[in-house]
Amino acid sequence: MEYFLQQLINGLTLGSIYGLIAIGYTMVYGIIGMINFAHGDVFMIGSVVSFILVLSLGLTGGSGPFLIILSLALVVVIAMLIASVYNWTIERVAYKPLRGSFRLAPLISAIGMSIVLQEFVRIAQEGRPKPIQAIVTGKYELLERVNDQGQFIVTISNMQILIIVCTVALMAAFTTIINRTSLGRAQRACEQDQKMASLLGIDVDRTISITFIMGACLAAFAGLMFFMYYNVTDFFVGFLAGIKAFTAAVLGGIGSIPGAMLGGMVIGLVEVFWSAYFSVEYKDVAAFTILAMVLIFMPQGLLGKPEVEKV
């Protein structure tokens, strides 16, 4: 039971990160109907940029809590800015010129962009994984059990609390933007009928760009959290995390934002429980098995939109 609880906490932490990335996939799909396969690498850019910033600020676990919070806030803003510039540029350079061409073209272009980003960072930063000392340290013991097999303590670390709390806050803010603001309304309008949106005075190109920027901000935040959770990052982290977040988006119902959040949590939990109870070596297989199963048996996903509409 204690073991289970511990895995639950770990799973929710990982699921938060996947969920944040998954939103970027699902929003872009919703608005332009394509998978931005470079999105995982935008997450990677966010992660590597955060890493560089944290190092250059000289941040360590020994810095005072006030300094850490202030520095991290600065890091996250800059990482979001840089990731946004990348994602905005990707859309302008690689996708926009291909709008309206055959369906496979932007997909190929997306994979190309993904390779460009990875190789760029690999060459610029050298290929070795970048480890760092833990910055946010400390944990709370929630439960303790001693029995004949020994002692087991359920803990939640400050880092896990930070990830889960920030994710919940970001997702709440994000949901409010989509459902309650004129920007969100414009995005939903473009998702449903771009031509009609433009007849009503919506600048569709601008709305699409903003969507890429919003996805990039969430991915950059996830990138920072990811590297601070594992205390390591490199040019390749975007690949696996990207595919898993993509799986989360498909599982939740591609195009659905609550679906992406839910899917992220499910994938995070499955991965952690799989590692805990079956095999760590095959943990990535779990996510891909889910992807294959969902695509075959439930392509509309958990919260996917029903296709039926009265016209």
Partner: protein, 240 residues
């Protein structure tokens, strides 16, 4: 009722190699109801969309208030004060009725929203009853009212209406046409109305055009065209 609000000269539009508009000239003057009638496939909807630059005219010019809008992006044309209730209504099905009306107020950044939405509800009371309902679940007539209401939310100087009566019961058609007439008479709204339901449209119109195969073949006042035997034969047979 003198200065031209919207004019087109020699407008030609293509879909790939197929030419849909073959050199169209038209004028819509301030304060009037102009109508364009023609059988299915004549190019009426193409003209309505060409005014908004989607598809774009390959040649010719369209001016609005004397300004050349032929090459302007669609969203900027909307911001000049033209609104359209397009063919097929194109309401946003997964938004509520209220949200659809909010979308209509995009061009004036919601500045007059409360005031205007009250007016729309007075014009089409059913929309108020349905305001939290998803627009995709409305009946055809309700969707048409929503499409017109959404266009009016922009406070347009010119309203383009593409077949507002299509597929609707006669009683709803009558209420929609009387709403159009009222808006024109009381608010001085300029309307460019496309209809296959030629009888209603011609009765309403100060100026009328007949389109055949991408060309304007007849022009006159609504009454004049209504009196012409060839119009009656082609567009009013079995009429109302």
């Amino acid at each position: 009722m003198s200065e031209a609000l919207l004019t087109g000269r020699g407008v030609e539009t293509f879909y790939g190699k197929i030419q849909a508009l073959r050199g169209i000239d038209f004028d819509v003057r301030k304060g009037e109801i102009a109508t364009l009638i023609g059988s299915n496939g004549a190019g009426k909807s193409t003209l309505m969309m060409t005014i908004f630059g989607t598809p774009r005219a390959r040649s010719g010019t369209i001016t609005f208030e004397g300004k050349d809008i032929t090459k302007l992006p669609s969203h900027q044309i909307a911001r000049l004060g033209i609104a359209q209730s397009p063919e097929g209504r194109r309401i946003f099905p997964r938004m509520t009725v209220l949200e659809n009306l909010q979308m209509g107020a995009t061009v004036n950044d919601m500045a007059f929203f409360e005031e205007d939405v009250a007016k729309i509800y007075k014009l089409f009371p059913i929309l108020e009853k349905r305001h939290t309902q998803r627009a995709g679940t409305l009946s055809g007539g309700e969707q048409q009212m929503l499409a017109i209401g959404r266009a009016l939310m922009a406070r347009p100087k010119l309203l383009l209406l593409d077949e507002p009566s299509l597929g609707l019961a006669p009683i709803i058609v009558r209420s929609i046409f009387s709403a159009i007439k009222e808006l024109n008479e009381k608010e001085g709204l300029t309307v460019f109305l496309v209809e296959q339901n030629a009888f209603h449209a011609l009765k309403l119109a100060h100026r009328a055009y007949v389109m055949v195969n991408g060309k304007i073949t007849m022009t006159g006042t609504g009454k004049e065209l209504l009196a012409r035997p060839e119009v009656r034969a082609a567009y009013l047979e079995g009429g109302h």
